[in-house]
């Protein structure tokens, strides 16, 4: 059943314009109110910062009890304080850092943050995890590990970051496996998180790598070894690379060998320089610039006639870095045939080099 209202077109238009005006008016009021609220919050925060600054600097200098200091601040201003402390956590170390951590770990701030972490609100959980991780608050480890199972990607990421900052080695495997649940958690974001661990995470990761079948975890683990310059994984990574069919794993392995200067990988690199995948050939050339010797000269010259530009370009660069006096030979080659593609690329590299120098 429909109610049919009989109105003429002019009344209809007038009503529509009136409705739109009302809507615009409501929106404008809403924006103004939000701006006022935001301005008020900012002002409150700035006042708090100005008031707290002196107290905080004196606290860093002296022997004031952190609990007594925090007692002076109302619970509703805890977040202002935490935001104020954020930069100091990132920039200070040593005794300054210990004192900063005490402000969270030895005061009412810690139970406050733990209660935030237990809440169901992702925003509160993320903020709490962030500060508990920064303050290396070990009391939060169990809760943070549970949060790794959260279906919410931001909760997973903030918990993983906190656990990495807490250097909780046991959690590293949960982080690696749980990450696979989220399509948009990229390898780079995972690496950024895991690189917050200290290098002692490498030993358990190496044990895991020996039996790990997942290529993404293999590749991330090897990248971390390079980041930490963990030489002890050289033999294991070499075995994995030799049998691997996965481009990412092979490329990360090659980068790792160059990064730690693992000369035992040279024999394998000798084969890989002719790999069908151009990205692998390129990476081998880059590694040879660090690890190689004169015995590679001819193989590298051969790559100057590669079908892929990236490989040809890196072949010239590697020759220049690796072979003493090669500049003269490359210069002759570069101008030997102006129509030749390899010679053109050589001219380009030489030109770039002269600009840089």
């Amino acid at each position: 059943m429909f109610l049919i209202i009989d109105i003429d077109i002019f009344t209809f238009l007038a009503l529509t314009i009136f409705a739109l005006l009302i809507l615009t008016y409501i929106l404008v009021i809403q924006v103004v109110l939000l701006r006022l609220y935001h301005g008020f919050q900012t002002k409150q925060q700035q006042n708090f910062f100005a008031e707290w600054e002196g107290k905080f600097f004196n606290y860093l200098e002296g022997n004031e009890n952190p609990a007594a200091l925090i007692k002076k601040i109302g619970r509703r201003k805890y977040l202002y304080l935490l935001r104020y402390l954020r930069e100091f956590f990132l920039m200070l170390k040593g005794e300054d850092f210990q004192k900063l951590s005490s402000l969270i770990n030895d005061t009412k701030l810690q139970p406050f943050l733990l209660s935030q972490l237990k809440s169901g609100a992702p925003k509160k959980i993320n903020e709490a995890a962030y500060f508990l991780g920064l303050a290396k608050s070990t009391a939060s480890i169990k809760l943070l590990r549970k949060k790794l199972k959260s279906p919410n990607a931001s909760v997973f990421l903030s918990s993983a970051l906190a656990l990495a900052r807490l250097n909780d080695s046991e959690a590293v495997f949960d982080i690696l496996r749980s990450a696979r649940r989220f399509k948009f958690v990229s390898k780079d974001s995972l690496l950024a998180i895991l690189s917050e661990y200290s290098d002692d995470v490498c030993a358990p990761l190496l044990q895991n790598l020996k039996r790990e079948k997942n290529v993404l975890i293999q590749s991330i683990t090897i990248t971390l070894f390079r980041h930490f310059k963990f030489y002890q994984a050289g033999e294991t990574v070499l075995k994995i690379m030799v049998y691997s069919q996965t481009k990412e794993v092979i490329i990360e392995s090659i980068k790792y060998f160059a990064g730690i200067e693992f000369y035992e990988a040279l024999t394998a690199l000798r084969t890989l320089i002719n790999n069908p995948k151009a990205e692998i050939r390129t990476e081998v050339l880059k590694a040879l610039a660090v690890l190689g010797d004169a015995s590679f000269e001819q193989r590298i010259w051969d790559r100057m006639y590669d079908s892929e530009y990236e490989v040809q370009y890196n072949a010239v660069i590697t020759l220049l870095k690796l072979i003493p006096g090669s500049e003269e030979k490359i210069s002759k080659f570069a101008y030997s045939d102006l129509k030749d593609r390899a010679a053109a690329i050589a001219r380009m590299v030489l030109s770039e080099r002269s600009i840089r120098n």
Binding site: E61, M91, D96
Partner: protein
Amino acid sequence: MNDRKTILFAEDTIHIAKLLKFKLEKEGFNLIHYPSGVGVTEGVLKNKPDLVLLDIMMPVKDGLTVLKELKSAPEIAHIPVVLLTANSHEEYVVKGLQLGAIDYILKPFASAELVLRIKNILKMR
């Protein structure tokens, strides 16, 4: 006569700048702060500080650009410059030392160590 040494420093992280100012003033130094690299060279030419502390990563004009300017002006080239930089930018440190910086301090830093290193540099000159 005022024999307090003057330190001119450029640091864009405002809370950290305030902490450095607090710590170093407490140690008896005069502090002149710039929130970016802009105007630092002119400030050094005008004030002739005893030491310059430069953050490398700053908006608009970075620390290395400022360092180049400082070292190419003969009247201020002798003023020691200490670089302040994040751990992950160590390659800039090498560049900075090549450009004539006398020392560097990596972030995160311990404020007591920073004060000590500045005092040592000034004592040796």
